[in-house]
Symmetry: C2
Subunit: 604 residues, 2 copies
């Protein structure tokens, strides 16, 4: 039967065959979880996503959020799945037990989330956004703050946000103008306006706790003078009961290209002069607090794009199996029409989509594993290794999954043809919704600067060389598998070439004559690294699958393993040669985009 | 001042400096047009587009079309610009005088159209779609039919459509099921249902004339049994007055990703058994009639995508000049923030957009010139040459401009960042509207099959080798221009390589063992050909501009010419190396997408 959202067999393959997560489950931290409980959790999340959330996706888009008199109303159909998400404690599946969460391994939590995101991202976000706020409070809050907020944010009873962006301070956080003035009682009075606040107001929670970036009067300019404050919609009394309404209101919502059911709010703090916040952490050290959320937000955004791409591929491949149109290529005129999955151009398109969906699933789980092992590895050396890899990979997870995920969604429309352009199918909405992923939580350009400017040179480049040697391990393994020798060599050559151009990029980025040109190629560089990782992951998959072909596996498994090998072959034969070309381009490091005068861009 | 829609200086450059259209204007056919009148026409079209059409674009999208009881109502704001388009006879600017048009050279008509399309494509389409219907009648109709329909279609008083697609006959026209039965009076009674009919019904015209593809009872199967009929909404009496209503109605409109103000209709013919049509041309020869529209429709669709891309670039480059955010890269923390056009990643993005917008403008006009010269060249040999080039280029114009135009629009969103994702700016709408171009009038996949299966081998490949030698002429010219030698060599190498892989593709496409694999790479092949053409066009532009640098040209012109050289340099240094990689991929002709079994695509 046609599957929805994510290929269920593929999840098992990644978790239990490619990454051998059963080993991870032997760690003390996960003693309450084994393969069986994990499978059960995945199946339950999947059922909830398909049965309860997915039906709200198109309706949520059509209805959007409504704004009236400072209040935002979400689509009515979100209420039931929202309650079910809270009842099942799905929002806090991966949150540590000491914070009131379920303490599941993050790979399981992310697979559950991916289902909910693919089924109705906006609906899910209302139930899970408190976690980020709670995590900041858990790390930097006082005992009183933790007690007051953490559990109720984690449970989803209260919502959380992040009030960062202002009209003149988007990517440039240090330019923000919201002010805070200390009161005699130790609280602060805030004043300012924020924009693009996801879920800044809505009618699904009784209270919303806003972490707000602001500048205390007299603080240094730029990011060094930024503090972070907790500003609840309703004050919370010592007994936990809700008190008076705080002076923070939503003044409007954006009308957007996609994620229309998610409230993107403009917020006014202190329009009556009475917006009161509590300092979180220390004065002028707000950026550090905020940065604890950055990696989580990047992973989350990458996963969001991947979820859309995966769901779009499931729709496309199954539509292509059903839609009858045209005779088979090379057959005589009177031959009967066939399903479009038989047409060469459609097959290429589908296999291209599958390459990226499979590769990105593995890439995401690999990054997830690095994150987990950074805490759980046995030796400090391994912890450092995994921590470094995770830091290196997060900007790529964020930007590459966003951009390639979007392209997959666009190709999903193309497979459907005219039908895909209508709103009778979800593929067009997946594309619209997915576009946000390359923009928020730091645009792709910002991620690329982070990769080239900070991550590539971490520990004198040692983190990056470790990354290359991790690829080398898979190559060595694949070389020993019959039939994969040539593919393994191709990936090896690609990794070597990546090493070469990375050296060059790194040195160009540090030279006064070439650093601007280098940074103009930083996003293409991030993307070749991403595409390299897909080659690595697909080779890895093939190396696991190929030995099982012709074994005693079921017919269904045989098809699955065949798919792994053919997908790797397709990608390595058709996409990898194009990556070499892009590497040549990056190595050239053209300065044309830097040298051209502003007027010469035209349009004046 | 910031320009909108299309760079005005660039239009002059393409028409008068790159292609030397003044020579073309010396032809007898254009004796009423000279450079001055052409410039005046462009300026008037531009003013009308910016002042009257552009304000309706977002409103049209928001309001969409309304369907009630078989009637479609367009956005109210379309009425005034529609009347102005008709009054100014803008819809028939390029239509021959003998059909009641203005007989302007097609390059001028297309530039006017491009402005209207960029400003409000949907609004413009209601005023101009009668031309295609009129052209078919002019070629294949009886004298009576011509007299009855042509003038009033050309003037825009009546609308025209094309009733081709059915639920089970999209790309596969031969599968259509609409029937026609001959009546004793020579008319035909039609019965069937059509979908995806652009402007199938609307309230801007008094009558709509529908060319309908249908199968006469007993006709052969497939495309050999397809006839074409004229089915007016209202019958037309011999004195030209409108008579009774015909039995053809709109039964609904699609809700779409974009072009929401264009009515995409489902049409029922003969639901009361009384749909009467007149045969156009001969029985069972409908495909031939329809094909007279194909090249025009392809050019139109390419132009539509180009128009959106051009408008999106104008918005993006001027937003980037105004939006202040972040200090300059490499400056100390306390440096003031600058306009984002100063940031390397934004510059690369903008110059990439500009490369394609400039290159596609030239490419379109080159194809336009080939089309014009196929009729107007002095010798039969030249007519044949230009006709061949036009045939070769049309599938590329359609598919490549659609796909790259879309990518430009998507990058337009990215330059705007969060603002671009809102509906406060037009960039997100341009992207949504543009997506249709890769789907209708034959998907990109269909165009790629046409290129590989029919066009590449025309006249034993002579048309293609002529194409390569035309590139060679530009290369030779550029080699003589100081500073362009290296660029010219790079383009020469690329053209040689294209020649190599085309030979290979051509032979693979004809071999029984490899033809399916070859066709699975047909769209990537079309796209490298398109990118090759962009390299050619940008080199050509640079070769015209470079000698004028440092001359007595105005400061503004100097900037413009600098832009031409730098854009070519950027494209040749950064994009051309990636094309070589993609050519390697195509040459490999991987059969993985063909060999993989259907089940192995997963999702079952």
């Amino acid at each position: 039967m046609a599957q929805q959202l994510i290929d269920r067999r593929d999840i098992d393959f990644v978790l239990w065959e490619q990454f051998d997560y059963e080993k991870l489950l032997k760690k003390d931290a996960f003693k309450e979880f084994n393969k069986k409980t994990c499978d059960m959790i995945i199946n339950e999340a999947r059922a909830l996503a398909i049965k309860e959330l997915l039906p709200t996706m198109a309706e949520g888009d059509k209805e959007g959020v409504k704004y009236e008199n400072g209040k935002v109303t979400v689509p009515e159909c979100f209420k039931r799945p929202h309650e079910l998400l809270l009842e099942g404690e799905w929002g806090c599946l991966g949150v540590p037990e000491e914070m009131g969460g379920q303490g599941a391994p993050s790979f399981i939590a992310s697979i559950a989330s991916e289902h909910f995101m693919a089924a109705s991202w906006a609906c899910n976000s209302y139930a899970s956004m408190g976690n980020g706020t709670a995590a900041m409070i858990q790390l930097y809050g006082t005992e009183k703050q933790k007690k007051k907020y953490v559990n109720r944010l984690v449970s989803g009873e209260w919502g959380g946000t992040m009030l960062l962006t202002e009209a003149s301070a988007g990517s440039d956080v240090g330019a923000l103008e919201t002010t805070a003035k200390k009161n005699p009682d130790g609280t602060y009075t805030l004043s300012g306006n924020k924009i693009f606040i996801t879920n800044g107001d809505h009618n699904l929670c009784k209270n919303i706790i806003h972490p707000v970036l602001a500048r205390i009067e007299g603080a240094p300019q730029g990011i060094k003078g930024v503090s972070i404050f907790l500003v609840p919609n309703y004050f919370v009394n010592d007994n936990g009961a809700l008190g008076e309404r705080n002076d923070i209101i939503c003044t409007g919502v954006e009308h957007k290209h996609g994620i229309k059911a998610s409230a993107t709010c403009t917020m006014a703090l202190g329009s009556k002069g009475k917006c009161i916040g509590e300092l979180l952490g220390e004065e002028n050290k707000g950026m550090r607090v905020m940065f604890t959320m950055v990696n989580g937000a990047r992973m989350h955004t990458g996963l969001q794009a991947l979820a859309y791409a995966s769901a779009s591929y499931m729709l496309a491949v199954n539509y292509a199996r059903e839609r009858i149109q045209f005779r088979e290529l090379g057959q005589p005129n009177e031959a009967p029409p066939v399903a479009i999955i038989n047409h060469p151009d459609v097959r290429r398109n589908l296999l291209w989509m599958k390459s990226y969906v499979d590769g990105m699933h593995s890439f995401f789980q690999y990054a997830e594993k690095c994150q987990e092992m950074a805490h759980l590895a046995d030796s400090d050396e391994d912890k450092e290794l995994y921590s470094g890899q995770f830091e290196l990979l997060t900007p790529i997870i964020k930007s590459f999954l966003a951009d390639r995920g979007y392209e997959v969604c666009v190709q999903g429309i193309q497979v459907f043809g005219g039908a895909g352009y209508t709103q009778d199918y979800l593929v067009e909405q997946y594309a619209r919704d997915c576009k946000i992923a390359s923009i928020y939580e730091g645009t792709s350009g910002i991620q690329a600067m982070d990769l080239l400017g900070r991550k590539l040179g971490m520990k004198e480049g040692k983190v990056f060389t470790t990354f290359l040697s991790e690829i080398g391990k898979t190559v060595e393994q694949a070389k020993k598998v019959k039939g994969l020798e040539e593919m393994a060599s191709a990936v090896e050559k690609l990794a070597n070439r990546l090493g070469e151009i990375s050296m060059k990029m790194g040195s160009n980025a540090m030279s006064p004559n070439t650093f601007k040109a280098a940074f103009s190629h930083s996003l293409p560089f991030l993307n070749v690294m991403g595409d390299m990782i897909i080659a690595w992951m697909l080779l890895w998959r093939a190396a696991v699958a190929a030995p099982k072909l012709g074994s005693s596996a079921s017919k269904k498994d045989q098809s699955f393993y065949e798919g792994q090998v053919k997908t790797a072959q397709f990608y390595i034969e058709t996409v990898v040669p194009t990556i070499f070309g892009r590497m040549d381009s990056i190595e050239k490091c053209s300065s044309a985009a830097i040298d051209i005068s502003e007027d010469a861009f035209g349009g004046l």
